[in-house]
Amino acid sequence: MKVSKEQALKFYETMCLIREFETSVKHDFLNGEIPGFVHLYIGEEAVATGICAALDDTDYIESTHRGHGHCIAKGADIDRMMAEIFGKKTGLCKGKGGSMHIADFSVGMLGANGVVGGGYNLAAGAALANKMILKNDRVSVVFFGDGASNRGTFHEAANVSSAWKLPTIFVNEMNQWASTTPYETTTAVKDISDRAKGYHMPAVIADGKNVFEVYAAAVEAVERARAGEGPTFIECKTFRVEGHFVGDPELYRTREYVKENAALNDPLTWFDRTMTRKNGYIDGVIEPQELEAVRAAAKEKIVKAKEFAMSSEYPDPDQYTADLYL
């Protein structure tokens, strides 16, 4: 499908923001400014971007431990995201959640999840509430990796979503690595989307580096969901460029292997290459300097976000029991 040049540039901006955000986080983690667990989305930017571009603010997403990209793509405030990752009181979760539990309910981002496969049922439940109880046309998206596709929670959520034609969209980020395990050693199928057949659920495979292809799949799935026709399974073939978490020595794969696959699957270089020539996605082309301008602006934003985070206070100690019960 074709989109306007503005839309294409919007995609690019989001992807650059994610890339810059993650690059900055990685840097700050490695020099000890950010503690805890941090999982980076580098290389998978086109997935969150393409999917979330097809959603409204009132739609929901359930994210994963690798959630910064989803959060940014859904439109969360980047300053407050960064502050949360630093554990500051100005963070989206007032410093209680951190990277792995980042959330912004104001834009329908129902949270990253420290439990692999913890998001399916929450997303299906939100879909159930919206369709069957609150009677609106909001849709829920759940992102999950190839590793998480082996959790029983997937099975239970997929079955009910299909049985009740819930507006749940299952977005599989097939990045080929379940933390340190190559997916094929523990997963019985080549295309995880084959599992959709077991629930009478339509499925589509998208090239995870091609934001347009992901977007097109998402638009179709969202239409189907809003029309009451039930869930869709979108498998995005992508690649996890970084280790499972920042600091992962990656003993389980070689540098060469990573370099090669990163190059093959990088959504930003693909975008640069494709948009600067005549292509089937927009009318005309995007000039290199236009792209450069977007990249520069993104860098700028992230620098500001970090300054905001650094200059923010830690939460007041007396806040440690707050936000538990009402």
Binding site: P35, G98, Y252, Y314
Partner: protein
């Protein structure tokens, strides 16, 4: 004797047991990828000369534990690793309704010799999904045994016992233990379950602890000793079964008790210890039984809030003073 880290000591325990007994196998997510969390399994397959007994599992906790129950009932001795204690709830039913009960429900026909290793505790800003101490749940479940080692040498001996033992064992290891080093005997040895050890003799107050809390209690004891307060420190080693006699004997001697763990205080295992003392050493008590545990909140991310959830030597030190301060006027 040689100086080893907890990680190395428990690795040796597994290695030796797996070489000794071909029915022992280890299964976990990432077990070959990165040696499991904290690399506790790195090179295990090669070390025992049988990589087939070190198995990569999908992210399917229910089946990792469930299949181990079946394998155990069929003659194997699984070592299951759940990476983080917080993954345990994903397999809770398999642990409490299958592993714990199969032998009993089936009238002793089955036996379920398996070990579930689960690193727990606060490390640094890992947030609410990777830090909880859940031992108390399993002390409430008949059929399970619960082990909480406190040093490298203890870890090796207790893990060997757990592997040879014919019951399902939950083996909780604090993440801060992993890099802790200490003297570890080279020879083959086991440590019996249900036998506490007196880590430090004392006459003024009994401090009952387990796991990581033992080293923190010792630290507190040094500070107290400087003030002329002589604390006796008891390392329970195993919580189910647990050594009531040792605890009661000590409290009858000192007349005062302080119980501490990193788990949430409300309904933690400390309550069982304290309640038992109140029932069975009542006459000997000169003061209230002090109980120390984490506040009633999930673990927050912010470092300063997180620190409020730790149980540190100063908390124990302060607890002992409370025990000494408020005399019972009974």
């Amino acid at each position: 004797m040689s100086i080893k880290s907890y990680r190395e000591a428990t690795f040796d325990a597994m290695k030796e047991e797996m070489i000794r007994d071909g029915t022992v196998y280890a299964i976990a997510e990432d077990i070959n990828g990165n040696g499991g969390t904290h690399g506790r399994y790195t090179g295990l397959g090669e070390a025992i000369g049988d990589p087939g007994r070190v198995i990569d599992a999908p992210i399917s906790e229910a089946i990792i534990v469930g299949s181990a129950v079946g394998a155990a009932m069929s003659g194997l001795r699984p070592i299951v690793d759940l990476r983080f204690s917080n993954c345990i709830p994903c397999a809770m039913d398999e642990i409490v309704n299958q592993a714990a009960k199969s032998r009993y429900m089936f009238g002793g026909q089955a036996k379920v010799p398996m070990v579930i290793r689960a690193p727990d505790g606060i490390l640094k800003m890992q947030g609410a999904h990777h830090t909880d101490c859940l031992e108390a749940w399993f002390t409430h479940v008949p059929g399970l045994q619960v082990v909480v080692p406190s040093t490298p040498a203890e870890g090796k001996g207790l893990l060997k016992t757990a592997i040879r033992n014919d019951n399902p064992v939950l083996f909780f290891e604090h993440k801060k233990l992993m890099a802790m080093t200490g003297e570890v005997p080279e020879e083959d040895y086991t440590i019996p379950f249900g036998k506490a050890r007196v880590v430090r003799e004392g006459r003024d107050v009994s401090v009952i602890v387990y796991g990581i809390m033992v080293s923190r209690a010792l630290e507190a004891a040094e500070k107290l000793a400087a003030e002329g307060i002589d604390a006796e420190i008891i390392d329970l080693r195993t919580l189910s079964p647990w050594d009531r006699e040792a605890v009661l004997a000590s409290v009858k001697k000192t007349g005062r008790a302080v119980v501490a763990h990193e788990a949430v205080r409300q309904s933690g295992f400390g309550a069982e210890i304290s309640a038992t003392i109140a029932e069975e050493a009542f006459g000997a008590l000169k003061a209230p039984v002090i109980r120390i545990g984490a506040p009633f909140v999930p673990i927050p991310m912010a470092p300063n809030l997180e620190d409020l959830c730790r149980v540190l030597p100063e908390n124990i030190y302060e607890g002992v003073h409370r025990a000494l301060g408020r005399q019972s006027d009974r």
